[in-house]
Symmetry: C2
Subunit: 593 residues, 2 copies
C-alpha cells in the first residue's frame, strides 16, 4: 500500500532560500519566518500522512454510494473530515472576520499540495468549499457573507460549483438551466447540472451550491448567465436551517478515478436561489472561483506526481532485479535494487526534476496572488492571469505523465490495484479535464492571455527571465553553462513562437490556435527552467555561505542540471511544430478523416 510523506524540507527551501518570503513586502509576509512556516507544515504533514493518506486507497476501492437520495462517503471520511475541521485547516487562508486564520495563499498552497497528495478525492470536498466561499467573498452582499461564510470557512457547510449541463461544458452559452425571479427578490432555479464534484454527501449539515442559470427574458447566450447561491437546505435569516430546498442528487457517476469524491448529477426543481453578484454577470463571478480552482487543479497534478514519485522511489530502492551494468552493487543480495539501472534513474529524475520545479512554480505563483490581493499589485495580478492556464494545463498534463512513469517503475505490480499506483494515474487523469479541459487552457493562453493589456504581461514575463539571466550570469562558468544558457535558449524559443503567432495569426487565427497546446507546454518548460535557475542560484548561495547541509543543496543543483539538459530542450520541438503552422493540421475536410 502506498504511503505519503510531505516534502516539507523542499517546501521550506522554496519558501525561504528561493522566495525569501519573510523578507517580501507583501502584508502578512513578515511573520512567515522559517520556524513559523515550518511548524505549520509539520502539523499539516502529520495530519496528511497519518489521517488522510491511509484513507486514499480504501476510499478508491469503496467509492461513494447513493441510497434514497443520500450519498454515503467511504468509511473513515467523516471522522477524518472532523479532524480537518478541528485543526482549522479549511480556513487557513480565509479572513479572520469569518473565522479563518488569514494566512497568505503561499502557505495555503503548500498545505494544499499535501492534502491533495495524501487524498485527492477527500480534499476536493473542502477545495470546492474554498472556491465557493471565495466567490461569495468577492461578489456577495454583506448579508450573504455574514450568513454563509462563517459556516463555509469552517467547512461546517461545504460548497459546490455547478456549471456543466449534459449538452454543454466549455460552451456555457448553450446553458438551459433557468432562474425565475420571485417577488421577494429570490429566484426559482430549474434545470439539470452534471459532473458536480462533492454535490451531495454525508459530511456536512448543509451544502451551498453555486449555480449558473439564465434569468428568464435575459440576453441570449453567455451574456445572459447569472450566478446563484442555492443551499441544499434553506437557511433562515438567523443562520438556522429551514426546510429542504428543491436541490437533489439524481445519480452519482461511475468514474475512472477520484472514487472517494461524489460526482453528482444535480437536479434543481424550482429550488430557491439568491443572485450572487450582478444579473447576467454570472461568468465574471464564477471566474473568481474558476481561476482559484484552476490553480488548485494545477497543484493536483503536481501533488499526484509527488506521491506517485515517492512510492516509485521506495520501490526502486526495495525491489531487487538484475545487476548494474557497471558492476554488482549489492553483492550481499541476490540482485541489485532497481535504482541502479540507468533507465529507472531517467524515469525517477524526470519525476523529481519536474515535481520540485512545479512546486516552486506554484508557490512562486502564490506569492504573486498574495501581492495582487494584499498589495493590489496590478502587475502581479496580470502575471497570475497569464500564468493560470500554464499552471493548470501544463502541470496537469505533465503531472499525469509522471504518475504513469511512477506506475511503470513497478512493472506488473503497477497494474494491480492492490499496489495503489494505478489510483494515482486514475485520479490525476481528471485534472487534465475539469475546470476547463487543457485544450481550453491552451486556447485561453494563446487566444486571450497573450494579447491581454496589449501583451503587457507576457512582456513582463520575458523581462523577468531576462533579468534573472542578466543578474546571475558571469559569476560562475558552470552555472552559466548548466543553467543560464539553457534558460536563455528556451526563452528565445518561446519568444520566437510568440513572434510566429503575431506574424501569422492575424492572417489566419488557426496558425496560432494549431500551436496553442505546444505553446502552453513550452511556456511551462520555460517557467520550470526559470524555477530551476532560481533554485540553482539559491543552492549555490547556500553552498557559498557555508552550510552544514551541503548534500541537500548539491542535490538541488544536480536535479536542476538534469532538467536543463533533458527536459528544457523540449521547447525546440514545440517551436518546430508551431512554426509548421496550421496547414497540415487543418488540411483535411472534416468528412475525410
Amino acid at each position: 500500500m502506498p504511503t505519503y510523506t510531505a516534502p516539507t524540507k523542499d517546501m521550506q527551501f522554496i519558501l525561504h532560500d528561493v522566495l525569501k518570503i519573510s523578507q517580501a513586502k507583501t502584508p502578512g509576509y513578515a511573520d512567515l519566518e522559517p520556524d513559523f512556516t515550518g511548524a505549520i507544515l509539520e502539523e499539516a504533514s502529520k495530519l496528511t500522512s497519518e489521517v488522510l493518506a491511509p484513507l486514499n486507497a480504501s476510499g478508491d476501492k469503496e467509492g461513494c454510494r447513493l441510497e434514497n437520495g443520500v450519498v454515503y462517503t467511504p468509511k473513515g471520511f467523516k471522522e477524518a473530515f472532523e479532524k480537518v475541521k478541528e485543526g482549522g485547516w479549511p480556513g487557513l487562508d480565509m479572513p479572520e472576520q469569518y473565522g479563518g486564520q488569514n494566512m497568505p495563499a503561499v502557505i495555503g498552497s503548500a498545505v494544499g499540495e499535501m492534502f491533495s497528495s495524501a487524498n485527492m478525492a477527500f480534499t476536493m470536498y473542502q477545495g470546492l468549499t474554498h472556491g465557493a466561499a471565495s466567490a461569495i467573498l468577492a461578489h456577495g452582499t454583506d448579508a450573504q457573507k455574514d450568513l454563509f461564510l462563517p459556516k463555509m470557512v469552517s467547512c461546517e457547510w461545504t460548497g459546490t460549483m455547478n456549471l456543466t449541463e449534459p449538452h454543454c461544458g466549455t460552451d456555457l452559452g448553450l446553458m438551459r438551466t433557468k432562474a425565475a425571479p420571485q417577488a421577494d427578490g429570490s429566484y426559482k432555479i430549474t434545470g439539470q447540472k452534471i459532473f458536480i464534484s462533492s454535490g451531495e454527501h454525508d459530511m456536512a449539515d448543509n451544502i451551498i451550491h453555486l449555480v449558473l442559470a439564465k434569468i428568464e427574458g435575459g440576453p441570449e447566450g453567455i451574456k445572459g448567465v447569472s450566478l446563484f447561491i442555492v443551499p441544499k437546505v434553506n437557511v433562515n435569516e438567523d443562520g438556522t436551517l429551514g426546510a429542504r430546498n428543491g436541490a437533489s442528487v439524481g445519480s452519482i457517476e461511475d468514474k475512472m478515478g477520484i472514487h472517494g469524491n461524489s460526482t453528482c448529477v444535480m437536479n434543481y426543481d424550482e429550488a430557491t436561489g439568491y443572485l450572487l453578484g450582478e444579473e447576467h454577470k454570472g461568468m465574471r463571478a464564477m471566474f473568481t472561483m474558476m481561476n482559484e480552482a484552476r490553480l488548485g487543479v494545477g497543484m493536483q497534478g503536481v501533488a499526484q506526481a509527488q506521491v506517485a514519485y515517492e512510492n516509485a522511489l521506495a520501490y526502486a530502492h526495495d525491489r531487487l532485479q538484475g545487476r548494474a551494468v557497471t558492476g554488482v552493487e549489492a553483492p550481499d543480495k541476490p540482485a541489485d535494487p532497481l535504482i541502479v539501472h540507468p533507465d529507472i534513474r531517467r524515469s525517477l529524475m524526470d519525476q523529481k526534476s519536474f515535481t520540485e520545479a512545479a512546486r516552486a512554480f506554484i508557490l512562486w505563483g502564490a506569492t504573486m496572488i498574495d501581492a495582487a490581493h494584499r498589495s493590489e499589485d496590478k502587475d502581479a495580478d496580470g502575471l497570475v492571469s497569464l500564468l493560470t492556464p500554464v499552471i493548470k494545463g501544463f502541470l496537469t498534463d505533465v503531472g499525469y505523465d509522471m504518475t504513469v512513469k511512477a506506475q511503470q517503475v513497478y512493472g506488473g505490480h503497477g497494474y494491480i490495484e492492490e499496489w495503489g499506483m494505478s489510483q494515482f494515474t486514475r485520479d490525476a487523469r481528471i485534472a487534465m479535464i475539469y475546470e476547463g479541459a487543457n485544450g481550453v487552457q491552451a486556447l485561453d493562453l494563446v487566444g486571450r492571455k497573450l494579447a491581454q493589456d496589449g501583451g503587457k504581461h507576457v512582456m513582463a514575463f520575458f523581462d523577468l527571465v531576462k533579468s534573472f539571466c542578466k543578474d546571475n550570469a558571469g559569476q560562475d562558468a558552470a552555472f552559466d553553462k548548466d543553467f543560464i544558457e539553457p534558460l536563455k535558449a528556451a526563452s528565445k524559443d518561446l519568444q520566437a513562437a510568440g513572434m510566429f503567432f503575431m506574424q501569422n495569426g492575424m492572417k489566419n487565427p488557426n496558425h496560432a490556435l494549431a500551436g496553442s497546446n505546444d505553446f502552453m507546454h513550452m511556456f511551462g518548460h520555460v517557467c520550470l527552467g526559470l524555477m530551476w535557475g532560481m533554485m540553482g542560484k539559491a543552492a549555490n548561495d547556500a553552498l557559498a555561505a557555508g552550510t552544514t547541509d551541503a548534500t541537500f543543496y548539491e542535490t538541488k543543483l544536480a536535479t536542476g542540471r538534469y532538467y536543463m539538459a533533458r527536459q528544457l530542450p523540449a521547447t525546440a520541438l514545440h517551436l518546430t511544430r508551431i512554426q509548421s503552422g496550421a496547414d497540415t493540421v487543418m488540411a483535411l475536410d472534416a468528412a475525410n478523416f
Copy 2:
C-alpha cells in the same frame, strides 16, 4: 457506448498499394490477391464489430470471478469464443497439418489488430494460446506436437505462459519454481507463478500451461531454467483427458484494466510437466513465444489507439460546442461540432497519423516474419529481431498516449466509465508493461540488438531508409520537401545517436543505457517516417495512374505530411537528450534522491 469498425480499406491499401504482397516472392504470398484478402478482412470485420466489440464494455464492467477454484469469464464470452472457434480464426496462420489454414503472418496480423481493437481482454485468451502453440511447434517433439497442437490450434484447449514469480519478473534467474525429474521422464513442477493471463477460465476443456522452472541440481541463475508443458488436466496418450493435474488458480488479480481476462496467481503443486525443448534451455524456447508475444503486444497498442480514435472522431463530429474561430460553420445548429477547433484537429491528426503508420509498420514487419519463416531469409529474420523491441516499446508507449488523447476529446464524459473511453486507456496501459516492460525493451534494443551480428541489422535498416530516399527523390519537389527531406533528417539524427553510443558507451555503458528510451522512441519515429514515405509514394503513384478514389489517396498524403511536419521532428529532441549523456542521469547517490 463505443463502437468499432475495422479499418479494412486502410489495411487493403497497406497490403496491396504499399507492400504489394501478392507480387512478393515469399511462399504463399502469390495467393494474396486483393479480392482474397479483402474477403478475409470483411469476414473478420463483421465478427469483430458484431460479436466481440459489443462485449468489450460489459466484460470490463463485470470482470472475471473466481469461485471454488473455477474462474467464470464475463457474460457472453463463452458464446463468442464458440463463434470464433467455429470460424477457424485461432488457426488462421497455423499449419494445416494441425488443423490451421496456413495463412501468412501478414494476414494474421491484420486480423489480429481487429480482434484486439474490438475486445483486447477477450482476444488474449486466443492470443496466449497462439503463442504457446508456436513454442510447441518450434521446440516440441513430434509426439508433443501431435498430442497438443490440434486442440490448441482450434482453441478447444487454450494456452498460457508462466514466467513471473512474486519476487522476479525481468530477472528470471531469481526464479524459485522447481522441477523434479521422475522415473518416467516427466517432472514434478512445484512453485508459484503470478500475472498469468488466461490462467484459468471456463471457455475450454483444458489449459496447456507453459511453465519456466529450474530442474533440481541444474546450473544457477538463468542458465538453469527449463520450459515445461503442464496441462491443467492430464492428457492421455490417445489425447483423451485424464485426471486433474496439480495446477490450480490461487486468486485472480484486481487490475486497472483488461478485466475480461483472468490474470491468475497459479500454484503448481507437484504438477506433472513435460520438458519442452532442451534441459536448461528454457529461455530459448520461451523466447519463441515471447518474441511473438512482443509483436502482438505492440499491435495491442495500435489496436487500442485505433478504436479510441474512431470513437473520438465520432464524438468530435457529434458534439456541438463553441464556434470555429474563422467563422460559424454550422449556422443551422446552436454550435459547431468539436472538429472545427484547431486543437481538436491537432489531437485527431496526432492519432490518425500515428495509427495508420503504426499499422503499416506492423504489417511490414509481418512480411519480414513471413520471409524469415517461409523463405529462411536470414536478413529479414535479423531485421525483425532488431525491430521487435521498437514495435513493442514504441508502439505501446505512443499507442497509450493516443488513447489518452482520444479520451481527452470527450472532455468530462471521457472520465465517466459509461462512455467507454476510460477503458481504452486502462486496457492499453498494460501493453507498456507486460512481455517485458518498455524500459527492458529499450535495454534490449540498445544493449543487445544494436550490436547483434556486428551491427549488421541496424546497418541494413539504415540502408533501407537510404535506398528509399534515393529511389524516390528528385521526381516531385513537393514529395521531396514534405517526405524525403524530413525522413533523411530524422534518419541522420538516429545515426548520430548510434554514433554517440559507439563513441561513449565503450567508456561507460551508462552513456548508452541512459539514452535507451530516447533511442527506442527515435527509432520508432524513423520507422513510422519510413512508412509514411512508402505510403506517400504509393498514394502518389495511385494518383498519377489515375484513380477513381482520389480523395482517399490525397487524404493519405495530407496525413503523412502532418506526421512528417509535426511528429517526426521529435528525433531531434531525443538526440539532444541522448547526447547529454549519463552524467546528469546518474549524478545522484541513490540515497540522495
